[in-house]
């Protein structure tokens, strides 16, 4: 029984969600492991969402937005770059492997690219195995 990673995807409405939708309408076959959450802009993504996804049992998290310079709200994705850069460092401090979290730019016309990104992160996380965060959050964690 192969391990099927549970990956949470947080996608911006204008570019990446549309790109993902295009992958669907184009009938591209790709890994089904990403559960998509749509937000209006990747700049709205609070680092708390990623940490909560991991705490609630996600094996991987993917944030996708418009390419820098193409943000529907002009500057939103610049904030994304800054927030996610610091978040990556915090995830490393928590011992969460870097391959479990990705920030990707996917435009509305990049259905193929979306499929590629999903396949890629799914394989990376599959190789790492299940994330061990949630089991560690039992109420009491004794030395045993």
């Amino acid at each position: 029984m192969t391990f099927e990673p549970k990956i949470v995807g947080i996608l911006c409405n204008w570019c990446s969600y549309t790109g993902a939708d295009l992958a669907g309408t184009s009938r591209i076959k790709y890994a089904p492991n990403v559960r998509v959450v749509r937000v209006m802009c990747s700049g709205r993504v609070d680092p708390t969402f990623i940490l909560k996804a991991f705490a609630d049992g996600a094996d991987g998290v993917l944030v996708a937005g418009c390419h820098p310079g193409d943000c529907h709200y002009i500057e939103g994705n610049y904030k994304t770059i800054r927030r996610m850069a610091l978040l990556k460092r915090m995830l490393a401090d928590y011992g969460i492997e870097p391959e479990r979290f990705r920030l990707e730019w996917v435009s509305a016309g990049e259905g193929d690219r979306w499929a590629q990104v999903v396949n890629s992160i799914t394989e990376d996380v599959r190789k790492l195995g299940p994330a061990k965060i949630r089991p560690a959050l039992r109420k009491k964690i004794s030395a045993a």
């Binding site: 609070d46 680092p47 708390t48 990623i50 940490l51 909560k52 991991f54 705490a55 820098p68 500057e75 610049y78 904030k79 770059i81 800054r82 927030r83 850069a85 610091l86 978040l87 460092r89 915090m90 490393a92 401090d93 928590y94 011992g95 969460i96 994330a131 061990k132 965060i133 560690a136 959050l137 109420k139 009491k140 964690i141 004794s142 030395a143």
Partner: protein
């Protein structure tokens, strides 16, 4: 607060019975919170007049057996400081919860994990190895380590189990109120004591002895516009004493930290490190700190962002120094 109408004809007994029964205890603690209570100075006499202290290891000689013998709910209010690091800390948390009508998580450690929570970035093995074998001042040729049970000639000795993970008080028992701060400021402690004695407490679960706003609201430093183009450290750069730290490029957690201490750090020349925890509505202080500070960095491409954030030497221990056990992930993955 009790309002006993006794017909004993014995005024001293009535007074004694009407006094609040107060306890204070320390788990994985430094004693600072207990000393902070004493720092209300002469008001300690008012406290002694209003309350009978029935358990307080730093100041009084009551034993665990005496607490165990109390009926449940016997203590009116227990101020519990310190984080939950060992099985003894947890045992006392459960014991004091049972014996107390009101249990208060007092100080950063009980509230959000505090400084002992930094140990959550390491394992029990790593900590034992360093403390009992590696430190230069340790002479331990037999390579002894603490064991919960040891057999000696006369019998068996027991010490608590050292858990793998530091926990907050509310991760082991129900907590009625939280008093934040490392330590809580004596001025706020007096406010809390008065609230307890007068019975004027907010609904259970509230943070008391603190503001609803952030540190920036109380900080006297001049604030204009935040556009960070680089980070500085007070080890290598001299901050201007009158200007906002963050605006000068010094990492300060003021914007995500609950107020209530009159900005005691910023008025002493150092930036805020978040000992009061975050205001209501924030689920993970470290995440919020990243979000807030990233918002005001002036950079639009990944290379420039990397160049700027590389000037911050440490991440989790700087963005969430006091609250790792209370954070969403709680500890470095085992």
């Amino acid at each position: 607060m009790k309002n006993l109408q006794l017909e004993t004809g014995n005024q001293k007994l009535e007074e004694w019975m009407a006094k609040l029964k107060l306890a204070a205890y320390w788990a994985a603690s430094c004693g600072g919170c207990d000393v902070a209570i004493l720092d209300i100075h002469e008001k300690i006499l008012d406290l002694a007049a209003a309350a009978d202290i029935v358990f307080w290891p730093i100041a009084m000689d009551f034993k665990y057996s005496e607490v165990e013998a109390m009926p449940d709910g016997h203590i009116d209010v227990t101020l519990f400081n310190g984080a939950i690091r060992t099985s003894e800390n947890e045992h006392l948390a459960h014991l004091l919860r049972a014996k107390s009508k009101t249990l208060v998580a007092f100080g950063s450690c009980a509230h959000i994990g505090g400084i002992p929570g930094l140990a959550n970035l390491f394992t029990r093995e790593e900590i034992f190895k360093r403390v009992y074998h590696e430190v230069p001042s340790m002479a331990n040729p037999e390579k002894t380590e603490p064991e919960p049970k040891s057999t000696v000639a006369e019998g068996e000795l027991t010490i608590p189990e050292f858990y793998n993970t530091v926990m907050t008080l509310d991760q082991v028992v129900d907590v009625d109120y939280y008093v934040p701060g490392c330590p809580p400021p004596p001025k706020q402690i007096w406010n809390v004591v008065q609230a307890i004695v007068s019975g004027k407490l907010p609904p259970k679960g509230a943070v008391i002895g603190a503001s609803e706003k952030t540190q920036c609201d109380e900080c006297p430093r001049k604030k204009q516009e935040k556009k960070i183009t680089g980070f500085k450290r007070i080890a290598t750069a001299q901050p201007d004493p009158d200007t906002c730290f963050l605006e000068q490029g010094f990492l300060c957690l003021g914007p995500v930290t609950r107020g209530g201490c009159d900005a005691r750090c910023m008025t002493s020349g150092v930036p805020c490190r978040g000992c009061f925890g975050s205001p209501d509505g924030v689920v993970d202080m470290g995440a919020k700190a990243i979000s807030a500070i990233a918002s005001v960095i002036e950079a639009k491409d990944e290379a420039e962002v990397q160049r700027i954030i590389e000037q911050i030497p440490d991440t989790l221990r700087s963005f969430n120094r006091f609250g790792i056990p209370a954070s969403l992930i709680r500890r470095k993955v085992l």
